[in-house]
């Protein structure tokens, strides 16, 4: 049974929340989850193209990140660490299950039908356009190599800086630059070829 030595601060830093979590405060985990579930999910979804798989990757990523804290502490922010683990979990999951038809180059997406709230904010036509654009972007992303895709997704959807991407991927900032350069070139070529954006 964990011993709760001190109450968790109401407004806490990630480090404080992690300490509280280690001490057994459930609220600390809830707060960490609330803070980072969106970037983690965005990264996982972009890499997997499937909602349920993305949630699985988020789940696995959070669990691994929290149970292997000793591997990261002091080297990067928790967000960088978490997104690294989530993206790796997503890639592992993708390899295990194969990328779903949702990202298949030909398969139509029906997520709007299951998530009508996405369309509520937009005009219906505009929503469909956005859906088309999202499909196109996902297809373009799928044309990248795995390592380029992970780099770009951490940069774009994880909203990490170049240095943070480098830390997350355990590589140099020059390598990140290079990967992003080629990823951008390829994405641009793919998008221009199909639908100039």
């Amino acid at each position: 049974m964990a011993t709760l030595t001190a109450p968790c601060p109401t407004v806490a830093s990630d480090e404080q929340l992690l300490a509280c979590h280690a001490a057994g405060h459930r609220q600390a985990l809830e707060e960490l989850f609330r803070r980072y579930r969106q970037p983690a999910y965005h990264v996982a979804y972009r890499l997997l193209g499937h909602e349920a798989d993305a949630l699985d990757a988020v789940q696995e990523g959070f669990i691994k990140a929290l149970t292997h804290l000793h591997s990261f502490q002091g080297r990067a922010s928790f967000k960088t660490w978490l997104l690294r683990v989530v993206s790796n979990a997503a890639l592992d999951l993708g390899r295990q299950r194969g990328r779903r038809e949702a990202i298949s180059l030909d398969a139509p997406q029906t997520n709007e039908a299951t998530h009508p709230q996405l369309l509520a904010a937009d005009e219906a036509g505009q929503g469909l356009e956005r859906a088309d654009l999202r499909r196109l972007l996902e297809q373009a992303l799928a044309s990248l190599s795995e390592v380029q895709r992970q780099t770009f997704v951490l940069y774009a959807d994880g909203e990490l800086s170049y240095r943070e991407v480098a830390e997350a991927m355990g590589t140099s900032i020059g390598t990140v630059m290079s990967r992003l350069f080629y990823a951008r070139q390829r994405l641009r070529a793919y998008l221009d070829e199909r639908d100039p954006v």
Binding site: F33, I63, N111, R130, L137, A156, I173, M177, V197
Partner: protein, 206 residues
């Protein structure tokens, strides 16, 4: 500008793009970028591409799915987060088991000692390896590395092998190994003779 052309700006360009570039070096980089408009274009295009992806939302899970995910994370991390505690428990269990086993062994030994003092010690039967003929053996497979060690037919030496003393041996001839060229050295004394090759002697040039 004194900046060399060996792509020194790989680390600086992203910092510049993210407005984190040191102000005192900004002029240099701005000048370099003016000379290399393609780099500026690349940076701007990458930023546009990032914004494009960020502008397109991904399907959002229902709140219930988030809640279920959080619950699984909580239970999953609880199961795995306290390895130290589990290690302590495991260690305690192992210690208790080892202690119990030790007690059991001691008890069994004392009981066995009491038994053997009253009962005659059974003679250990000497197990003799059966000797078979070569025809009795069928080699199904063997490692290629063992082929050289395989002896087929009569064993090379009959009888027991014994160490000999140096006095038991009379050296008739000592010559260079025809294959490796090494020369043996004889070390004689109270210990069994040791033959070692100590040097390679080349053939004298004619």
């Amino acid at each position: 500008m004194s900046r060399n052309e060996d792509n020194p700006d790989r680390e600086q360009r992203p910092a510049f793009g993210e407005d984190r570039f040191p102000a005192d070096s900004e002029d240099d980089l701005s000048e370099w970028l003016r000379e290399h408009p393609e780099a500026h274009g690349d940076m701007a295009d990458l930023q546009r591409m990032r914004e494009l992806y960020q502008s397109v939302s991904v399907p959002q899970p229902e709140e219930a799915a988030w809640t279920a995910t959080l619950t699984r994370i909580a239970s999953g991390s609880r199961l795995r987060v306290k390895p130290a505690l589990r290690r302590k428990r495991l260690g305690a269990i192992l210690s208790l088991t080892a202690a119990a086993a030790l007690v059991a062994v001691l008890l069994a030994r004392s009981w066995w000692t009491g038994q053997s003092s009253t009962q005659p010690q059974p003679q250990l039967a000497e197990e003799v390896f059966p000797v078979v003929e070569a025809d009795d053996v069928t080699i199904i497979s063997m490692d290629a590395r063992d082929v050289a060690a395989l002896v087929v037919g009569e064993p090379p030496i009959s009888g027991d092998l014994e160490f000999v003393q140096a006095a038991d041996i009379r050296v008739i001839k000592c010559q260079r190994c025809p294959k490796c060229g090494n020369v043996p050295r004889l070390a004689q004394g109270a210990v069994p003779m040791v033959v070692t090759s100590v040097a390679r002697v080349d053939e004298p040039e004619e």
